[in-house]
Each structure stands twice: as C-alpha cells, then as structure tokens.
Symmetry: C2
Subunit: 200 residues, 2 copies
C-alpha cells in the first residue's frame, strides 16, 4: 500500500495544499485516533512551512490535537469522496467505531507519531504552534510542517500530475452540503493572453 | 458591466471561497488603490462570516489594508489568468502604473469604499479585525465579511454554476510559479460509492 509514498522536500510542501483542496485532519493521543474533514485549511508560510486549519470546539479531533500537540493534514482524492463526506459528518463522540464505518485505514509513516490516512494523495505532518488566543477566539490552529509525503503517482518532483494520473486521483474541493468539485485542467500563466492593452 | 452582479446573503458568503480558489485582494487609502493575488486565503467562520488572508510585509496592498482597515477578496476566473499572474508579480512600489499595465479595471459597488476588480466571479468586502500579533508574527490578517456579491452567470441562488457557465468562468487554483489548475467537474457525495465495508 505504501510503496508509492515518497518524501516531499519541506521547501515545496506548501504546493501540496496551495490549490485549496479540502483536507482530512488526523490526530491521536493516549491510544485514541480520529480523522475529520476540513475545507478551511491553508498554507501560512514557506520556510519553515506552516499551515492554518480551523477545528471546531465540538470535534474530538481538536481535543486530540490539543493533547498531543500534533496533527496531519492529508489530501483526499475523488476515490475517497464518500470517506471524506463521512468523516466530516460523524463524530467519534457518538460512534466509537467511526473510522471503520467510514472506511478509514490508518498507517504509520517514518517517525511520525500521528497516524496517516491510507489512500490519500499527500500528507503534511505538523507540530502545533500553540496560539491560545487564536484557538479559543477563532478555532484557528497553526502548525509547522515537519515532514511531508506524496503518492508519486499524482505528485512527483515537486509538481502535481493530475493531468497524467487518472481522474480518481483528483483532489476534492468542498462547497457546501456534500457538493464538491474535483480539481480540473492545468493552466499556465505563460501561455495566457497578455492583459488587455487599455486604450490610450 | 455590472448588470449581472447580485448580492450574496452573508450566511452563504463562505461558499464563494470554500473550494479554495486563488483570490485577488484589493484595498485603497488616501486616493491610492492596489490589487494583489493571494493563494493563501481561507474561510474562518460562518456567522458572522470571517476570512483569513496572508499579506506579506513587502506588499503595498498590506499597507493599504492596515491604513484603511478594509479589504476586498475577489475570485478571478480563467479569463483573468494573465491579470492574476501579473498583479501577483509586480508591485505598485516599482510601477505606479501597475494596475493599468496589468489590465485591472476597478469599480465601486453599493456603499463599499474599497474598489472591486471588474470581471471577477465573486467579491467579499471585509472589515479588518485587528490582531496585531497575527499580523506581525505570521502576516496573517482576519476580516469580517460585511457584504458579498457574485456574478449571477456563475454563482446564483447560493450555488456555483461552473458546470453551466462557460469554461472561461472557472476559478483559478495556483500551485507555484505560474502553474494553476482550473476548478473541475462537480461531484456529489450523495452519488458516491459508500465507504468500503471492511471485512468483519
């Protein structure tokens, strides 16, 4: 299962989420692991790479992040649409068997203590940068990316390869209520028409 | 030019950026207006709607946001690819004629004092929520959305209509170095295959 997973250099880790995908957030503490979906995750810095993610106070994942000081953001694919929707709409507090029911398989990678979700396109392992005011007032969490990996079938040599991988590898971009878009066609600004010349 | 622009109710304003598009940030103060591109913008709350955006200390737009206490996030389209790349790679500090050279046309909408960029798919007018520590330590700015509008040809009744609008209306999702993806095909979690049933 993990044979296509390769490290991504930290200087390029921001590229894994720069295009705005909905992500899965995994965390674990004291033998309990959980996974939730988050559309509100974003890059924050290049070096060291940092990210933001919004974690509602009602989520069990948030409590695990606060207790362990760590989380992993991962980029799910079209193949994981039902899984993504399911982990985003059920709580471990209501169903101790949530992850199995949602079809989540966890695995460990390298020295990272937080488990990763199998089948994703990319993973960013983060150390929580404690900012109590942001966490309390805005549910906003900052993480420093300490390691990153990608499945080389869809991200290799620092570049997404959505156009070469099959459509099942496309990232998911949630709008609302279970309505998503897959990422689409590549565009190069170098090929774009120049900005219109305003009349003098 | 503005005949297709309609207000978006604030409760649904988050949907305009929930799918992770690269945005344009406009701001103005003391008779000076500027526009920059930002891939690091994200929803932060539903009600009242809030957003985050990362504004580097080197940008003139940031100074205008700090001085005026306001900014507008807007969602550019495939038709604006060259414009988006251009405003993200030139500075008003180096070229007082930046906006004209980049092909930007500004307009005023309703009572919003900050000018909007013509031709975009959607606009979110924000009041800066001052958080000096975030701004200084992380270049992270929080805004409360006070008004929102969309072009009804691509967003109507609270929903994106990318699949019905022409391909030139798709949002832009920057990866790095002028390489973007357009948003792609719609996916409904209701239609997705159920999560795989793990073997008992």
């Amino acid at each position: 299962m993990t044979s296509h997973i390769a490290p991504v250099e930290l200087a390029k880790a921001y590229r894994l989420i720069n295009h705005g995908p909905t992500v899965l957030v995994s965390a674990s503490h004291g033998g309990v692991a959980n996974v939730m979906a988050a559309a509100w995750a974003c890059a924050l810095d290049f070096a060291p790479p940092k990210v933001t993610v919004v974690l509602d106070k009602s989520t069990r994942t948030r409590a695990l992040v606060e207790a362990s000081g760590r989380f992993v953001l991962q980029v799910p694919t079209v193949r994981q649409l039902a899984l993504t929707q399911a982990v985003g709409n059920t709580s471990l507090a209501d169903d101790a068997d949530k992850l199995r029911r949602c079809g989540v398989t966890l695995f460990q990678q390298d020295a990272e203590p937080t488990p990763l979700v199998a089948g994703c396109a990319a993973w960013l392992a983060c150390r929580l940068v404690p900012e109590p005011h942001n966490q309390q007032a805005y549910d906003l969490f900052i993480g420093e990316v300490e390691a990153a990996w990608a499945d080389t079938r869809v991200f290799a040599n620092g570049h997404w390869r959505f156009e070469e991988a099959g459509p099942e590898w496309r990232s998911l971009h949630h709008v609302a209520g279970g309505h998503y878009y897959a990422i689409g066609a590549p565009l190069s600004a170098q090929d774009a028409t120049s900005p219109p010349s305003p009349s003098a």
